[in-house]
Structure formats: C-alpha cells, structure tokens
Amino acid sequence: MSKHTLAVLVENSPGVLARVASLFSRRAYNIDSLAVGPTENPDLSRMTIVLNVEGHVLDQVMAQVYKLVNVIAISEMPVASTVHRELLLVKVAATKMDEVLAIVARFDAKVVDEDEEALTIECTAESVHIEALLRDLTPFGIKELVQSGLVALERGTAALSDRTLSAQGISTLHEISTQADYQN
C-alpha cells in the first residue's frame, strides 16, 4: 500500500461530494483525507483526495471517479512535480509559553490566538512538517486540533483545468498497473 494524492475537478453542483463519497464507500476504497473548495472558475470545485491503495486499485479508483458525470478532470499529484500543503490549527496549554513559542518559531508556524491558559497555533506546511510540529507540541498538552486535509497544485504552468475541455480529462503520469498486481 502506498499513499497517492488525486486532484479532481468537479462541477460545482449539489450532491457532487455525496457522489464521490458514495463511490469510495461503495467500492471499499479508503480515503485518508479529502479537501474540497471553490476554484478560479465559479462553475467548478476542486477536490484533493489522499488515499492509501496499491497498484491497479489506483487505476480503478481514478477510472471510476472519472466515470461520474459531474467529474471533469482527475489527475494524480506526484510529490515530485506538485506542491503539497496542509493547514493545522492546534490549541496548546500555555503553561510553558517560552518553550512553545520556540517551537512555533522553529517550525515557521504562528500564534493566532492566546489567552491565559491556551495558545492557538497555525501552521501551513507539508504533511511531514505538520507531523513533526505536532510531535514536538504533544508534551505541552494538546487540547484540540483541526487539520484541513492535504491540498496540492502542480508546479510550473501546467493546470488541471487545461484538461477540462480536452477529450481525456484523466491523467496518470506513469503506468501504474502491472500484471503482478493482480491475483493471477
């Protein structure tokens, strides 16, 4: 099993999220995270889906998602050629304020709210960075946290929306399936 990030352009219409979620549920694909929001085009929304699958299942997921009528384009977002970011908001006990602030500075995070008992910290970074920050903050007492789920955008001038008017809105950057992936 390995993690894959998919970017999905969908029509901005009611029920699209339910369709995608229903598909993942029905075909027993596990989602690690799903982030959805508006795009530069008011008619389109963009989903970023992270999932943990192996070989030919990824091809299946992409083909099945692409088959949904409201899905306009789907592409894998490999780490090498895309920018990946997650947003974390975390509430930490303010008892050892100086030490916490040092960590915040080291991780390029920032304090967005504070009172006598708690600091609320924001960090936007790649997943590994977020994980490391959380690991370092844990000893100080995490009261609550929320994460946005991963979002990703291709580097350079390439844009997923360029594919919306082309014949094939599906793109895998490499041949994923091999015969060895199958039972036979």
Partner: protein, 579 residues
Amino acid sequence: MSKEMTGAASLVKSLEAAGVDVMFGIPGGAILPAYDPIFDSKIRHILVRHEQGAGHAATGYAQATGRTGVCIVTSGPGATNLVTALADAQMDSVPLVAITGQVPSAAIGTDAFQEADIRGITMPITKHNYLITDPDDIPRAIAEAFHIASTGRPGPVLVDIAKDALQKMTTFKYPTKIQLAGYKPQVEPEDEAIRDAAALIAKSSKPVLFVGGGVIKANAHKELMRLAELIGAPVVTTLMARGAFPDSHPQHLGMPGMHGTVAAVTALQKADLLITLGARFDDRVTGKLSSFAVNAKVIHADIDPAEIGKNRYADVAVIGDLMYTIKALIPAVQAEFKKSKPDLTAWWRQMSSLRETYPLGYTTPEDGSLSPQYVIERIGAIAGPDSIYVAGVGQHQMWASQFVKYENPRTWLNSGGLGTMGYAVPAAMGAKVGMPDTTVWAIDGDGCFQMTNQELVTCALNNIPIKVAIINNESLGMVRQWQTMFYESRYSNTSLQSKFIPDFVKLADAMGCVGLRCERAEDVDAVIKEAMAINDQPVVVDFRVFKDAMVWPMVAAGASNDDIMIARGLAPDWDSQEL
C-alpha cells in the same frame, strides 16, 4: 417569445421531443401534475400494478428494441419501489430514464409525506441522476438524461422533479445540442490499440472470442460474425450475450461460466488469448480469478475504461464502441494474417472433442414426472429463434440459456448481473410492447412468478399478449440445488408448495389470462402450440415439473473453472482429453 406552460407540460413535451413512444408508470401525489398533460399526449402510458413492474417493463422494452425505456412514478414509496429495477438496469447496462415526482421543493428535507431522498438512494445504482426544483431546468435535464442513458456504456438515469417545479409556469425550449464537460465517452478506438490487438491475434494458436453483452448493446453482431469467421477461433457467449452469435454456428461453443458448457469453460481456461469483446470478467464467468485462464493474454475491448483491468489484467486495452472497434479490427487482423496466419487445427481438435464428448444434456426423471429442461427445450423448438425469451432468475433461467437455441440478438432477456427474481413477467410485458409483432415467452419459475405476476393484469387490460411458462418445481429450485449439494439436503425454507397453492390456472384466469396446465411429457408440445395459438390474451402455462432436476454443468461458487462438474460428483474425464 415561446408560449408559457407548466413545468409538467414542459416535461411531457420534452419526453415527446426525446422520441418517447411509450412509458410505464403509476401516478401519485407528487407526480400528479405531470399526469394531466400525459392524458393529452401521443405518448402511450401503460398503467402498471407495481412500480418495480414499471422499471422492469422499461428494461424489457429497452433490451428488446435497443431504444431507451421510460418509467414514471411518484415520490417516496413510488420511487423506492423502483430501486430494484434501477439496480438491475445499472448492472446489465440498460438504457433507462426514470422520472420520479418529489415533494415540493420547500418541503424537501422536512420528512414530508411521501418524501424519500431518491437521488441520494439511487446514486450508487444509476449512471447519473438529477433533482430538479426549477421548471426552467426540465427540458435540459430530460435531454441530458436520454443522452447519458443511451450513449457510452448505457445505463439508467433518474430525474427527480419537485412537485412545485411541475406546477410553476415556464417556457419550453428543448436543447438541440448536449455538451457535458464531464461526459465524453470514447467511441473510436485508438489505432495503436487496434494494431496491438491484431498483432496478438496473429500470434495466437489458441484464441477464444469471449463475447459479452456489450456486443448486443453496440448492435455489432454482424461485425462480430465477420471478425469471428476471419479469425476462425472458438466463440463463447456469456449469459448477457446469448444471441450475439448464432448457436447454430460451428465456431460457437456456447456459454461459459458457472453453468456453462464444458467446451466453453475449458476453451477459456486453456486459451492462450482471450479476445474479450464487451464482457466484464464477472465472477460467475471467471470462477476463482487466480486460476482463470492462467496462460492467456487478454485483449479487453470495452466502451467503459473502468472495466479495463478491474478484475483481470488486460495486455491490450481497446476502449471504444464495439461497432467501431470490431470494424477497425477486421482490416488490421487481415493485414496481420497476410504476413502469417496461425494454424488453429490442433486447438480445434481439442475443442471439438470436448464439445462432442460433453454436450449439454439432462436425464429424464425416473419417477415419470416432467423434465423442466425438456419443457424449455420444446418451447424453444416450437416458438423458434425469432421469438423473444425472457427469464426470471434461477434454475429455469440457466436452462433457458442452455436449451433454447438463440440465433439473433435481443431475443434473450434476463437479469444477469443483479439476478433479480421477478424480472420475467414485467420485462416480457415491456418487450412485447416494444416488439408487438414478435412472440414473447416469459420462462419463469414458480418462485419468481409469485413476486411480480400482478403485471399480468396490466397485460390483460392493455392488449399485451405475452406467454408465460411457469417451470413449477414447487420450490426455490436453485437454492434447493445448493442445499442438496452444500447443505446436506437440508431444505430450509425452499419449499414453496406451489403445486398446492396458488392454483396458477385459476390465478391466470382471475387476472384475465388464459391458464393452462401440463404435467406429462406427451402433452408438452400440444400445450405449447395451444398457447402459441392464442394471441388476443396473455397465456400462463403451469408446467408441473420434477422437483429435483439440477442445472449441469456447474462450477461451484468460488471454485476454479478447472473443477467443473458435469453431474453430481462427476468431473469430465480430462485424462482422455488432449489438452
């Protein structure tokens, strides 16, 4: 400026513009506004007795004619009663448009009377669906629904329309061109894929044409014939493809799968190349996947890219409409064959030997009772290859696929993927409506028949003279067969006692049909001919048959196709076969 009209009138005008000639339905509160303009429309509306019947009738109509079937029902229970038929159509890729009424838009989400979230419920069992709350959206939604249902891989599309959208005023403008950013089925195959496929075919000494229902959907049976005769390979037709290739053709080895012929099953198992045309490697065909056709390379041609590699790795994927794909393959294969044409003599020697040694057959019951296979075989022989045969699900379905000889596409209708008991009577009704001049036989089981027989009333009242053969073994026969084989003959809840109650002859009579009964082999032909002679009323024949007849051959669920049995505990004598 175009004329103002209600959303309901716009709906009916849209259906007319889509070319609908008939629809099956039942009115109710939320859809009621639509039924007023339906009253004046040239579209024939057939009032069914249960919404499931409307759905299967639309399916039968679509499968028999190739046109999109239409059903229309109300909100809540009307819509949920349609669910089985939609799931059935989705599994068997049937072009269907279902119109459902919905509670007024202001009431949606309030658990209003007869409210059900049918769009949510049917998301996983439709190709696409709509919820319309603005009357201006009705023509576009209907046009898109027909476009989506009938193109690409066909499937059911549901259009749920809020009652107030039907009541409000709007103007009617039917779209002439449909452009959907997210729906562009690939019709023409890639040249490279065709060349790769042809190259594999030219190298194969043990090829099999593995034909699925997609060939019938694509109306590509004539092209298939040309390709098959060009390659000269054995042909197998799956349950959904019966009729795509004539049973009388010398290259046809019959149906593969759980109850397929020994020759067809073995051809797939021993092949070095599967030329897969519109089949989806269903578990009922492959048996245990890891031991399915282990030495075969696979060419997989399908219009649905998501089918490629779903269950079995495809060495060559050809995405496109099979009509185009097969037409492109023919010259490509001819070109390859000019360079070298493989010799299939040895392969055919093996397959012919299997076909001769293990033909489909059955034994006559020792207790003198009627053999179900004989009944079905005689119906097929007397009604002939130009009739349409519609089966329910179970033993009778398998026998009807085995012992009726199919020569033409769209003459064999059944619920293959979902396995919906109760499919036969309403689907036969729909088929007869679509093909009024063709004899339509429903070959049904006594269990199936009792699920949906109320549509015989619809048939009797609307001059839809179908013929129903109830293969009455007074049990849920296929389940009983599994109990015999895998549950030590402990017949838990499979006895229906249908030779006792109901009296099918009286039931037929009560529903305005002619009821006949047959219990002896010597009467079978006469009864079938009597039924064939009646064309102004539906006919129901209660064939009282042997209870313990079994469907053979059989590959047990989850077993390898190599473990096919030709009778209980009896495998083919592989040692005597040169394989």
